[in-house]
């Protein structure tokens, strides 16, 4: 089986140096580094793992010891203490890619989602993936097994840009299905009505979810480096307009600044963590910065 292209070992090595500390204590079952108010174990067998020092003796599978003459401990589904849902925007606007040699916003978001999933599952956090545009396109419920990671990565590989973005609508539908409290990671360019997004985020927050927003923008969207007359085509609607960059730049930058300000303010209002990523920013740096910040929040 071919190695998934999204997993970059160097990137993962950088991330492993940081410890993800959940901002709030969520319910769940997990052993290890995470603090948890819950005790006991899950009833749904997931897999065996080699016995390690510190494991309870009672959790050794004696039947398997009799067969292979080695100590294995049974692993159950409920052994996570964090349910993480990664929401990846796969709308047409995410296909924008100013540098042919670089990454599109969707590719960048997918990389980011893969890293997060790998990292979280490695931390024994149940991780799920949902892709959406104007509708919810695919839902992979949070699970902890390594095969689940491969399923997430496979889904990410197969995700193609879809139609128009309706972040708020899709999030509202997702909120209805996510019963357990956990972490919601939204990876999107957020090109939608900011008030509607804010309303949807508030709903997640009301349900007790912790929210992280990875706002992915192309470098060209942030700097508007164009200098020749061009016919700009909206990737979502297909609508075109003639643009004179020199005279338009000031207006564009003002409106962009206002948009970013509105988005950040909306995130602050719902106590969501907000991070703006530039597709030119090295992925590991972006993740490291966020993880560090997250850890500071404790």
């Amino acid at each position: 089986m071919a190695q998934p292209t999204y997993l970059n070992l160097a990137t993962l090595a950088r991330i492993r140096n940081l410890q993800l500390l959940a901002k709030t204590v969520v319910e769940g079952f997990i052993q290890g580094l995470h603090k948890s108010p819950f005790h006991g174990s899950s009833v749904e067998f997931s897999e065996h793992r080699p016995y390690a020092a510190g494991d309870e003796i009672k959790r050794i599978d004696w039947k398997l010891y009799a067969k292979v003459d080695r100590y294995y401990v049974k692993q159950y589904e409920a052994e996570t203490n964090l349910v993480c849902n990664i929401l990846l925007d796969a709308s047409a606007s995410m296909a924008y890619q100013s540098d042919p040699k670089g990454l599109s916003k969707l590719q960048y978001g997918s990389f980011l989602a893969a890293c997060l999933a790998h990292f979280m599952i490695g931390q024994r956090d149940a991780t799920g993936l949902t892709t959406f545009d104007s509708e919810i396109r695919s839902v992979i419920p949070p699970k902890l097994s390594p095969t689940h990671l491969r399923r997430i990565l496979s889904e990410l590989e197969n995700t193609k840009p879809g139609s128009q973005t309706q972040v708020a609508g899709a999030m509202n539908k997702l909120a209805d299905t996510m019963k357990r409290k956990g972490l919601v990671v939204l990876i999107s360019d957020l090109i939608d009505d900011v008030d509607a997004i804010k309303s949807a985020l508030r709903r997640f927050r009301f349900q007790g979810h912790d929210i992280i927003i990875f706002h992915v923008m192309d470098n060209a969207e942030l700097t508007f480096p164009f200098d020749r007359m061009m016919q700009v085509q909206d990737l979502e609607s297909g609508q075109q307009t003639l643009v004179a960059p020199q005279s338009m730049r000031e207006t564009y930058m003002q409106q962009l600044k206002q948009f970013l300000h509105d988005v950040e303010k909306a995130a602050g209002d719902v106590k969501a963590d907000y991070k703006l990523f530039d597709t030119n920013t090295p992925l590991e740096i972006a993740l490291s910065e966020y993880m560090y910040k997250r850890s500071q929040l404790g």
Partner: protein, 668 residues
Amino acid sequence: MISFHHPYLLLAIAAAVLPLLIYFFTRDRVLIVPFSTLRFFAGTSAKLVRRKKWLETLLLALRMLLIVLVAFAFARPFLQKKAAAGADGKTKLDDAVVLLVDISQSMSRPGAWKQAMDKAEAAIGSATVSLVAFDQSPQVVSTWADADTTRAKLRTLEPQATGTDLIAALRKADELLTDVAAENKRVVLVSDLQRVGLPPTAATFKLSAGVVLQIEPVTADAPSKVAIVEANLPQNVVADNNAQSITLRLANFTAEPLKDVTVDLALANQPVQTQTLTLPPNQKLTAAFRAVLKNSGDHAGTLTLKTPDGTSKVYLNPFVLPRIGVTILTNSEDVTRPGSSAFFLSKAIDPGDGSPFEVKVLNGSGPVDLKDTSVLIIADLANVSPSLKQQIADFHKSGGGVLLLPGTRTDPAKFTADFGSIAPAQLRRIIKASDTRKGGTKAIITKVELDHAILSVFQRPHSGDFSAVGFTQYWEVTDSQLSRVPLRLDDGRPFMLEKGAEKAGSVVLLVSPPDMTWNNLPQRAIYLPLLHQTLRYLAVRSETPTTYQIGEVLSIPPGHKLRDPAGQSHSGGSLIASQTGHYVLLSSDDKPVINYAVNTPLNESDAATIPVEELKAAVVHPQTNAASTGGNMVAAGAGARELWSLIIATALVLVVTELFVSNRVPRH
């Protein structure tokens, strides 16, 4: 109506599509750039794009118009309109052209006239022209007519046996142009440009400022080799024993010396003298003849020039007049006294054998013989006997002229008693300049009535300096109201008074006689001509010219007839001389009275020409731009240049506008 000097250059207007092509080939290719959203592009861009498109269209139009204008300018357009009357009554034209065509005799030389017609036709072009034919005087043939009419009039012209006066023609052209309101005024001169056509007055004439002179020189196919170009032909001479001088000026127009050129002089049908000459190349030679003319009356004759190429004749008629009898009456002691009035008078009136006067100086105390006297001069006569007084009165009544010269011996009361009835004024007293003037300065003549017949010869400039005469004393006169005063002194008192009477002679009074104790008149240059003219006037001597030129008027007195050289008789007051030869004035009984010799203007034979540039320098106003000497007058119109300049100026404005607009066009 717009016409073009170089219409083929209008093809360059097609180049106006170049900016269009360049625009379509180099305009910004608008790339279609996919972008995540249009939400940040508020409507300003569309507005800007609309403005850019508008400016680009304007810029394109400016550039195309610029090329059209430049092509238009290089085609050199000009406006040509029909004549129209303006509000000020002046004819209004864009280009006013006067065509001067030389019809003098010299234009009849072989090939010259056809060449002149061709050049004149070409010069007319399609312009509105005033046609003036000129020889010695200009004749307006048509004014501001269209080209066809002018051509038709031009064909009616033919050379005349007359002279040339270029200045008179140019003056007329200038007058015609003055009467029109036109931006561009032009005179086209078609002539052989004879140098003799520039009279002495040429130096004072200039065309008006702005009038351009275009000269179309004409040359004869076979110019004459030799000709009589000038002649000094005596007309009225006084009979005496001295030989009269008749001179000719012959010109050799070739580069080779001409030998065996003979000139024969014949007078009264008798050969007088023959001269054989060798004429140096390109030079003139004077031939002088002398003939003694003793008999009164006509001496009709010819001067015949004989060359290997042919002969030519000059007609002449020296008319011999009898002398004017002048009697000077003075005191016995002054008859021979040097310095007296009688002395200076006799010397001035009869300087030699050639004098037209015959003078007698008599003691005026008693009766005198006035039989052959035409003018009586009474010079400071102290005593006049009653018989002499009566004799003088009778002489005056019979038409004799009297010159009164009162002097020191003259008593005013006796003067009044003796000559009061005929004198122009009465004497009052002698005024001495030393008594009435500071520093004893002399009185001078300051007012000269040049219209008077005595003084008309002094009308020409530098022909008499009356102020050079200084008077130390002179008579004050009274009762001069009925007299004419041709000359006055600087204090306003008369110096010369003249009084005429019906059916009687004229009387002239000089208040200061030609005496060195009275004035220095006898030592001044004007003395002789003034005295001679006065005597001629008093003698009522009218000298009839006997030599004329073609075109001049010959008078025919009532009861007389004039027989032309062809033998045909004419009557009726006058006749315009149209043939060369001798016209004979016949009395009522067909007896010859006088011959009139008629010639063509001799200087018309002078083939010397004026260079075009010299003529222009002489007559064109310094403020007028230099004119072209050839080419169609329409094509050379100054108006075309101005229109060209206007278009170029407009193009420059467009260039500036284009630069301004192009800087305003958003680049991106």
